[in-house]
Symmetry: C3
């Protein structure tokens, strides 16, 4: 039997919002350690990696390892039926055809059960090598979302350049160029609003705006986002999910002569 | 001469929102008793019955009985021109071609008059037999609206089952099933949020989600909705309209072998 | 060198919203006196005249007169990238191909530069004769916007009639007529909400609703709008822009026998 209970169903709602732009189907791997998901987006360009630790749930039981293929739009529909103050419980048997989502109102006067058919999916497990990154930037997630949205108006690709002074985002298109510079925060009085750059060596990489704009759908999960970058290595864009886990997005930089200037 | 004045024009705005999904044209019957409307929806599946008592108006005069055919989208357009704090007066002569809507701002500095052409409509008066229902449920109207919206994601039809324990809504579709159970409220400390079931015998009936979703457009009129059900008899879905009257929607249950389980 | 700095970038954002319905391209004339724009709308029916005085800017320098042709949708995109608390600086060289918009956050931690290509535009300078108007009405800009929106539901054209008692707006269409009367405010305790009519002789003129609905996009710029009218002369619809300047829209009345009644 598999059972995982989360008093704050809103966390799971936000997780679905954070993946549904990129994935239509996904395999959730459930084990004693928790729930994991790792999948390439539909176009096989970026990689999503989600980790929800068992100890982060209010109740967690997993007698046998399970791989459950789920339709992401369908999960998203079901989770939209939960009120934000509801408790959510996921429940499945050992060889499941279906998974049940149970939502309970705080006073338990309303109990909703949604039973969803599972789907068979090919599993592909990608090893993600541990990397030491040249630059690791922490910044307010809303600021990052805003910059991705603003600059994507000016071009399909966005260059992120990181140096001691701070981080620079730029884009160029038919009718002009755009440059946004964020200075490193001098003192971190308010940690959530700080911009902090840990740098071994400067990097300058170009990424597709479209994918970045999908990643920032995770913004409601966390006040800060962490960007890890090295030359010729995929960017990691990471959001903490409360005390439960994290979601990471990986995206390879564009290799293009034009970005050299 | 016909004249009916309502200090809270917002009530009439909400009444129009409550009928405009179902009706494009409607005959408003005005008499000494008040204003009544009874009409089948455009597809002749459900029935809308509206009753606004003359004593609920701030001023009411009706010298002769009038049957005024009106375009519902046009009335709705006119009422959207009223500010929510405006007073509304309906005015017509004894053999009217038109009806006038007058909106007055609280300080009377702004007076708007909208004169709308009446239309000739065939009148059909349906006798609605008084029925003793097996189950009468009172519940928060927003909760009912939410359940109709949520379950209609999962199927075209929704089953309502009523027993001593409470009320259960369910739907089934291609990718799973949905069940929402509401327990009867133990003590009715807050009457507006109570779920109360008066039951002679249990019922289990299936209805088209599409029509239920039109009925719940009346939700802003009243904090509670009353559902009256008996086997093989149309559901009555009733909303009180302040101290003035009520709106009732009638919908026959689906007769379908599949709902038996 | 040209440089103009405005601590409240939100003013420039609102100016763009006020012109982008009517203009796709526009020539901004910059001189020692300030920035001016005068242009017919795309359909060559109405005229927009914008004036931002140099002394209204927080910093202003213009070494040489400049005529800069700009794409209005592009400017609008750029200004949407400014946060409302940002400072904006416009900067250009003496024979510019481009203009730079610099946005600075209050603590200067975020600096965004958008460089936009200029375009060559034919310049047409229309002399607008000084006119003494029969009626000059001042009224709340939101009320005017609301009336334009409401009445445009009832017809393509709207008649404005002005007399000692106040101002009357009317429209007629297939399914009825609409009349909105505003009384002149007795005492102007609250100047922003006052309706004030200065009248030499009554006027009654008819205008295209479509253009009026474009003009009222300037509503966020000012709590009051001023309408100046004379028979057979274009209406002037004027909004003050803080302490910096104003925007005026000109629209010729419709000449139509039907409006005589």
């Amino acid at each position: 039997m598999f059972e995982a209970r989360l008093v704050q169903s809103v966390i799971l709602k936000k997780v679905l919002e954070a993946i549904k732009d990129l994935l239509t189907e996904a395999t959730f791997e459930c084990s004693d350690c928790g729930i994991q998901l790792q999948a390439m987006d539909n176009a096989h360009v970026s990689l999503v990696s989600l980790n929800l630790r068992s100890d982060g749930f209010d109740k967690y039981r997993c007698d046998r390892n399970l791989s459950m293929g789920m339709s992401v739009p369908c999960m998203s529909k079901i989770l939209r039926c939960a009120s934000s103050e509801d408790t959510v419980t996921l429940r499945a048997w050992d060889n499941p055809d279906t998974i049940v989502f149970v939502f309970e109102s705080p006073n338990r006067d309303k109990i909703s059960e949604y039973e969803m058919k599972l789907i068979n999916l090919d599993q592909e497990h990608l090893g993600i090598p541990e990397t030491l990154y040249s630059c690791v930037v922490k910044m307010p997630s809303q600021e990052f979302a805003r910059i991705c949205r603003d600059l994507s108006q000016f071009g399909d690709a966005m260059t992120i350049a990181c140096s001691k002074e701070g981080i620079k985002f730029s884009a160029a298109g038919d009718y002009g160029t755009a440059n946004v510079k964020l200075a490193q925060t001098a003192e971190t009085e308010n940690q959530e609003e700080a911009v902090v750059v840990e740098m071994k060596e400067p990097v300058k990489l170009t990424f597709s705006c479209r994918y970045l704009n999908s990643f920032v759908k995770a913004t409601p999960l966390c006040a800060q986002v962490q960007l890890s970058m090295s030359a010729e290595v995929p960017l990691v864009c990471e959001y903490q999910i409360g005390e439960i886990g994290h979601i990471r997005y990986y995206l390879a930089p564009k290799i293009d002569d034009e970005e050299e200037n």
